[in-house]
Amino acid sequence: MNELRSALCPNLRSFQLIKDIWVGHFFAMASPCEVFVDHEDLFFAQKLFQMAKDNALRIEQKFSRYRENNIIFQINNADGRRIQVDEETSNLLDFAAACYEMSDGLFDITSGLLRKVWHFDGSDCLPDPHAVKMLLPRIGWEKIKWLRPYLTLPAGMEIDFGGIGKEYAVDKTAEILAQYLSTVAVPPSGVMINYGGDLFALGPRINGAPWHVGIDDPEATGEQIVVQIPFLKGGLATSGDARRCLLKEGIRYGHILNPRTGWPVLNTPRSVTVAAKTCMEAGMFATFAMLQGSEAKSFLEEQGVPFWLM
């Protein structure tokens, strides 16, 4: 059985064969990333691994909010000026706008500013409610003028693709690998991508068996797996607050923030894992479910997607 752990074993070399599967490791988008290749040929596996890594690093470079030479920096420092963005950024902005609509404003790529006051370090240091309130006028997708390909952000506002970037990188990598496999006449199977717990399987393992994905115990991240999901193909994503939360007076403040109030959504599940056709869809369902707080389960049931709640 192949247990794929989203947590990394630190002593693994960057490329090795685990139980007949080649695994490539690298670090990108602030997460450990892995690519599993169930093909005998090491060179073939290395080729796929390299393509995946190049793509993940490219996306990180282009969309990271921590860099100063990319489109996100340009947008966030435009000081109210109109910026023309490229095709890929436009696609992501369209996607973000659609998610904003679908979630009635709960999913908002302008809410990253709240990071300035919220530090989910496991402590009991809640921010000053006044400081939170001061940020709210600078948050809200509806304040942005987006007329593809022109984006105008009021000065002082910021966007970030933190909520969709990793899932996008997974799907984009899968697309590139699938395309490569098709050009070399190899059926799209036997490849699994895992970028920090956001996954995509290109078909089952070569022998037709499913991949087995373990979901971490929210109470003991990286140490114990509570559920094993057999997984043939498509995307799988998890949203959870295990590692990022605040605890004060018995109330748990998870890292999922409501952009309307600036405060965390309470009574969220500890962890939501959703399977969907793509990783982006799975990620959005998981995030939307989290934003529902105690209604997460009924929301997911209504959507009719496979999910695992903890």
Partner: protein, 423 residues
Amino acid sequence: MQLDKKRSIRKALAIATCGVLSQSPLSSQAEDLPWKSDLTTLYYSEKGRVSVSESMVSFRRDIGDDEWVTLKFSWDVITGASANGAIFNPTQSGSTQIVTSPSGTSRTFQTGQGITVNPLTNFKDTRMAARVSNGISLTPTLKGEGEGNLSFENDYTSYGVGGNLSLDIRQRMTTLTGGLSIDIDTVRPINGNPPALASISDTTRLGHGEKQTIQSIIGLSQVVSRNTLTQLNYSQTMNEGYLTDPYKIITVTDPASGAPTDYLYEKRPTSRVRNSIFWNTAHQFTEDVVHLSYRYYWDDWGVRSQTYDLHYRLALWRGHSLQTTLRYYAQKNADFYQYSLNSGETLPAFASADYRLGHLVTKSGAIAYAVPINKQIEFSLRAEQIDQDDVDKRFPSIGATLFQAVFSISDKTNYTQSSRAPP
């Protein structure tokens, strides 16, 4: 929470995702594109001879990941003149008659000294055919497919059923296939089938002719390297029943003068076992693809043939492609093939002067250009020049051109080539 509006965002989310990912990572567009289809129209024309116009539409539907259905309809019209077996340019001129055709009416022919038959028969025929198949993945590595087909012409009907299995082994690097199909055909010329080796002046007509065909095929395809796929098939076809062509005749000539004295309906054996070995290798360069294939064919009528085929697909900018195909086909004649019979000699057991059973060489070259209209639709135009020569130089050479337009709505690249027996 506002989001909880008792509505599903599933579809909206899927649409939004499609906008970001230029194509779905898996071929899961099956859900977005329920029917894949091909529309093809082709026009084939032999100079001064037959022309064929064929239209074809095919559909494929994937039901989940493990099952698919395909439907195919075709309709073609053949008109023009085809060699009927009578000798060309008889040494003696006289009154020339035209023999019957599938759409022809009852006629009486005379034979004898000084009477010749036009070696070309004009005809017109319409064929309609349909095929349906259903395939399922029985296990992740074993696929099965069943099919049924039927076709109708004015004077010919055919019904068939078949099935095949394919098994992936060795990490899907190797695929084994096996298939079996059975067809039952009926030949019913308007006026009935003529008695074999009877003179065309004989007005006796028999009932219709029936023939059964059992075809079996076994194959192996192997991924040789990441860019190379090779495929080897063996197929055996057994025909039983009425295999004679009721419209083909053979000339009886006077051995001294070479002048026709009579024309007889041809006669072929009532069974035929056809074998062929087909090998195809496809190699992909960075983007271009080359196919090389060879077929060796032999049967118990003594026909042997070899086909060499070279196909190159040159990838151009923005998904456009240019494809060229060169084909060389050489055939040794059937044992009972004779251009003419000598008068006064005992009739052989079987005789046919059908040039298609003769000593032939066919050379063809094709060029095609494909334009993607969007991610799923491709349009292509193809032109082919075919030259067929009778090595014995008795029948005139045939030069044919073929034009084909294909409008294809799909999302898959198919690297396998079908293996079709020569005519």
